[in-house]
Every structure is written in C-alpha cells, then in structure tokens.
C-alpha cells in the first residue's frame, strides 16, 4: 500500500491568526479513524513541520491534539506581525497549502 497524503484524511485545513504574532494551523479530520491514524503516524512533529514550512524549529511554538474536535493543531510564530510592514497575510489565512501533500505513512496490519 502506498503512502497517502494529509488531504485524504481531512475535512478542512485552516491557517488563521491566534493573535497578531502567531499563526495557528488546524487539520480537522473526516472521522475518528482518520484522526487516529494521522495522530499515530507521528508526522505532526516539529522537525517535519519546520522542514515543510522552511522555518527554524524554534518558530514552531507548539503542537496540540484535541480528540473531541478531531483536530491536530500547531502554531508558527510569525516573522512579521499581522498588518505590520512586510506582512503577507493579515488574517494569517492561506498558508496551509503545503500541508496538502504531507505524506502519511500507511500502517501495517497485524
């Protein structure tokens, strides 16, 4: 079985401000099975996310799981605060696209 991508597991992907200095990324999963598989795969770790978004690991502020919302969330500290000169996304929106093709390793059965 080939690896699948995060987009195959989610209902929505978001990036929005969590205050003017932090962008919060949410992956909201289709169902519990999808949430569990991605959570168990461990791909949401600082090293992978830092590489995916081309930022130093120190800018990955935190990674959280919230089963009731079927959400995995992580936070990236901005290099330019919302609305400051040089900002590219005042609401922090539209920055999630690299997550689409994040590879989720398939699980071996048994």
């Amino acid at each position: 079985m080939t690896n699948r991508h995060l987009i195959d597991f989610v209902e929505f992907l978001f990036s929005k401000n969590a205050g003017p200095y932090v962008i919060t990324f949410d992956a909201i999963f289709k169902d519990e099975a999808a949430y569990d598989q991605v959570r168990r795969s461990g791909v949401f770790n600082k090293a992978t996310l830092a590489r995916l978004f081309n930022v130093p690991e120190s800018r990955i502020l935190s990674i959280h799981e919230y089963p009731a919302g079927r959400v995995i969330k992580f936070n990236i500290v901005r290099d330019t605060s919302s609305g400051d000169f040089g900002d590219r996304s005042v609401f922090g929106s539209q920055l999630w696209a690299p997550l689409i093709s994040l590879e989720i390793p398939s699980e071996s059965i048994g």
Binding site: F14, K16, N17, A18, G19, P20, Y21, V22, T24, D26, I28, L52, F53, N54, V55, L61, S62, H64, E65, Y66, A68, G69, R70, V71, K73, N75, V77, R78, D79, S81, S82, G83, D84, F85, G86, D87, R88, S89, V90, F91, Q94, L95, A97, P98
Partner: protein
C-alpha cells in the same frame, strides 16, 4: 456583529425566551491599523443596521443588550463612533434607555508602573516589553473581563457599549451576575462569541443561543437551517486560538480537557465539565499600536517571460537604483510577487514554479507620507524602465492597472504592545475600565 445579523434568527431566539442579548464586534485580527488610527473596521451602515436590530429586540422586552469591542479596536474614538450610531438609532426610532459606555483606552502610566514592578509578560511570540515600546504607541487598550459589564448592569444600564473586551466576557457577564460559575459562563461565551460559527453550516453572521443550567449549558441554533452537534461545537473551540483546551481569561485559565458534549436534539448540544483555574491575582491583556511609518504602493503585472526569468535581479536592481536617489533615513522597500511566493514568502516550497504571469506589489515605507510617495514615484519609473542583458522590450517592463500609478495607503501600525499584566489589586478589574452612564432619548 457588523457583518449583517440574521434578523429572522434573532426574532426566533427572542421568541424562545431570552434573558440577555450579547454581541461582539471587534478583534485584533485585522491588524494594528484600526487601533492605531482610531478608525472603525466595519461599514457604518451595516453596523447601524445590526445594532438597531438588537437594540429594538432587547428594549422591547426589557432584556439587557451588551455590546463588546464596539467600534472594533476598543480605543476612545472607536467607542465614540459606536455611541454616535446608538444615539442616531435612538433618535430615529424614538427609543429611550440608560446607556453605559465602558472605556478601555488606557493611560500609559499604569502599564509603565506594572512593567517597572516586573508584572508584565509577553504573549507567545511577542518581544519583551520596554518603556520605549509603551511610549511609542499611539494608543493602548486593556481587554476587560466580565466585571465592568456586571457593574454597568447593576448600576442600571439597559444597553452597554464596551470598548476592548474578552469576547467570552460579553456573554458570560449576565449569567455570572445570576450566580453561574465563572468557568462555565466564560466557556459558553467562548462558543457564542463567533455567532453560528459553532453550528453546521458555520457562519459568523447568524445568531446562536445558550441555555445555562446548574453545571452545564446547551447550545442552540435558532435558525432551523442549522444544526449544533458535539463535533461542530468542539471543532469551533479550537478556532483562532493557540491552545485547544487551555485559554486565558482575566480571572484565570479555562480548561476544556474534561469537557463532555452530548447531542440533546436536532439543533442542540449540551456541554459540561468545564474547569477553571483561578489566578491568585487577575491579569489584563494590553494591546498597543505603534506607527512605524507611512506607505505608498505601486501595483503592476509582468507577462514578459524574459523578465520573469530574472525577477530577483530586477527587484534588486530597481531597489538599489531607487534607494541611491533617496536622501532621507528610515525608508524601506518591500516587494510581494504574486504568482511566485506572494502569499507565503520564505515559507513557499514551490518558489521555483513561477507562472507565465506575475503580479508585483512594490511598497515603500517612509517616515512621512510625502517621502513615501516621492520614493514610490522614483521606484515606478525604475520598474517600467529597468534594463538588463537579454531584454526584448524597452521602457515597458510592467503593465500598471492604475492611474495614479502611485497610491498612498496612509500610516502603517504594529502591535508593539501585546502583553499581559498582573494587576496590583482585584479592584482594577473595574477601575481600569471607567463607566459613563447616560440617558439616551426622551423618557
């Protein structure tokens, strides 16, 4: 509020029997410009329509109407803007009521004193606070909790227009004043603050209701076209926040880690199990906007494949030639190239995949609008005329869509203060937010 409240849902909610109507109409989300400039974010006409709807609905039944973040950013000019709208509505509709204006703009002396006392912490990702940063701010506001709303109601206010407020507090104030626990009430407020964003399909433009119980509450969609499910509520609780189950409030930290959700009907979900870890001494978040300069912009499109293949050289060359003609200090240039890495900048993994056409937004920041404009005019001339080896056109590098070619966008602000201060006394939960009571309209 301010985006066009759904009046049918409001009527339905009122008919179901409300105790209080709350509305949130602001945020830091749209950047520091609004706080710094004193300007509102929303359209005045839509805000007037929305305030009018909830004022009439509330006053007709004697329900308190609580509006937080009135005018957007919470400064005195924002509150004044909202007050004028309310007074205009009262005149036009013949309404009369007691209005409380709750101010959130702060005297800088208080924050300076808390900083000197070592009681100020930055929000995540924010540099440490300094006295210079405080002084550089055009305007600083504090984010009030539920207490000033409760105080205003107990002093006879029928309508409360409050400046910068925790969105949760707007909705929690009334239930807390009736004996509901602060944690449960604030949690309910967190869910209602974005309207029907917690429903399916989600939208911030529709109303949402909560029914408080002893140790739980029910979230109800008054609009029959929407459902409220355990998943829709839980998914919204993580929206636009750093942590999914720990969220700071002035009086303590809300903890959703043990929360349970139960579907109680087609359009209703019951929520219980909220924990609240009270601070020994409350904290208040302060927000301050510093003006970093004035901006002028030049916007253009490039369809020339030879120029697109040399964009970095083009941008560096135009920048250097322009800056070499600028005598003033404090001038910065910034380029956004749409079609290459316009949205993501250095985070873009596909920077090498440039399309057949790119959009170029060149921005100049200077210490006055005049200088920004002049430098942008120099830049525009370099952009159209830049020469390079292998060019297949001359003095025609860019398609500019506008005349005027240079557009002045005004001052640029930054949130230089985004810090939490531990109060010196609990009484500051209200004393930092002075209340002005006024009779509006004829009795």
């Amino acid at each position: 509020m301010g985006y066009g409240v759904n009046s049918d849902s409001l009527d339905r909610a009122v008919a179901m029997g409300l105790s209080v109507i709350g509305a949130d109409s602001g945020s830091t989300d749209m950047g520091a410009y609004y706080l710094g400039s004193g300007k509102p974010y929303h359209s005045r006409a839509t805000m007037k329509r929305d305030i009018s709807l909830i004022l009439e609905a509330g006053l007709a039944r004697g329900l308190p109407v609580l509006i937080g973040n009135a005018g957007g950013a919470g400064g005195d000019p924002h509150l004044e803007w909202a007050r004028e709208i309310v007074e205009e509505i009262a005149r036009e509709k013949g309404l009369s009521f007691t209005l409380a204006l709750v101010h959130s703009e702060q005297d800088k002396r208080y924050l300076r004193e808390r900083l000197r006392a070592g009681k100020v912490q930055p929000m995540p990702g924010v540099p440490d606070l300094t006295l210079e940063r405080i002084d550089a701010c055009e305007r600083i506001v504090g984010q009030m909790g539920a207490e000033p709303f409760m105080d205003a109601m107990s002093r006879g206010a029928e309508v409360v227009l409050a400046g910068r407020a925790c969105d949760s507090a707007i909705f929690a104030a009334y239930p807390i004043s009736r004996g509901v626990g602060a944690g449960l009430a604030l949690h309910m407020g967190k869910i209602l603050e974005c309207g029907a964003m917690s429903a399916v399909p989600p939208t911030g433009r529709d109303c949402l209701m909560a029914a408080m119980d002893g140790d739980s509450f029910e979230i109800i969609a008054p609009n029959p076209a929407r459902e409220v499910t355990p998943f829709s509520v839980a998914a919204h609780m993580v929206y636009e926040v750093e942590h999914p189950f720990l969220q700071g409030e002035p009086e303590g930290i809300l903890d959703f880690s043990r929360v349970t959700f139960e579907e109680t009907g087609h359009r209703t979900t019951r929520v219980a199990g909220t924990l609240f870890h009270a601070h020994q001494m409350p904290t208040i978040r302060f927000e301050g906007a510093e003006r970093v300069g004035f901006r002028s912009i030049v916007l253009g499109g490039i369809r020339d494949p030879f120029l697109i293949s040399r964009l970095d050289e083009y941008i560096a060359g135009c920048t250097e030639q322009t800056l070499s003609l600028v005598a003033q200090d404090g001038v910065s240039l910034n380029w956004i190239v749409y079609g290459r890495d316009g949205v993501m900048g250095e985070m873009e993994p596909h920077r090498g995949r440039v399309g057949h056409e790119v959009g170029v937004l060149a921005q100049v920041l200077a210490q006055s609008q005049e200088v920004a404009h002049d430098v942008a005019a120099l830049l525009e001339a370099r952009m159209i005329g830049f020469t390079y080896p292998g060019a297949k056109t001359r003095t025609a590098n860019v398609a500019f869509p506008f005349s005027p070619l240079v557009n002045d966008t005004g001052p640029v602000y930054r949130f230089s203060v985004l810090h939490v201060a531990e109060l010196a006394a609990r009484s500051e939960l209200t004393s930092l937010f002075p209340i002005e009571l006024a009779k509006v309209g004829a009795r």
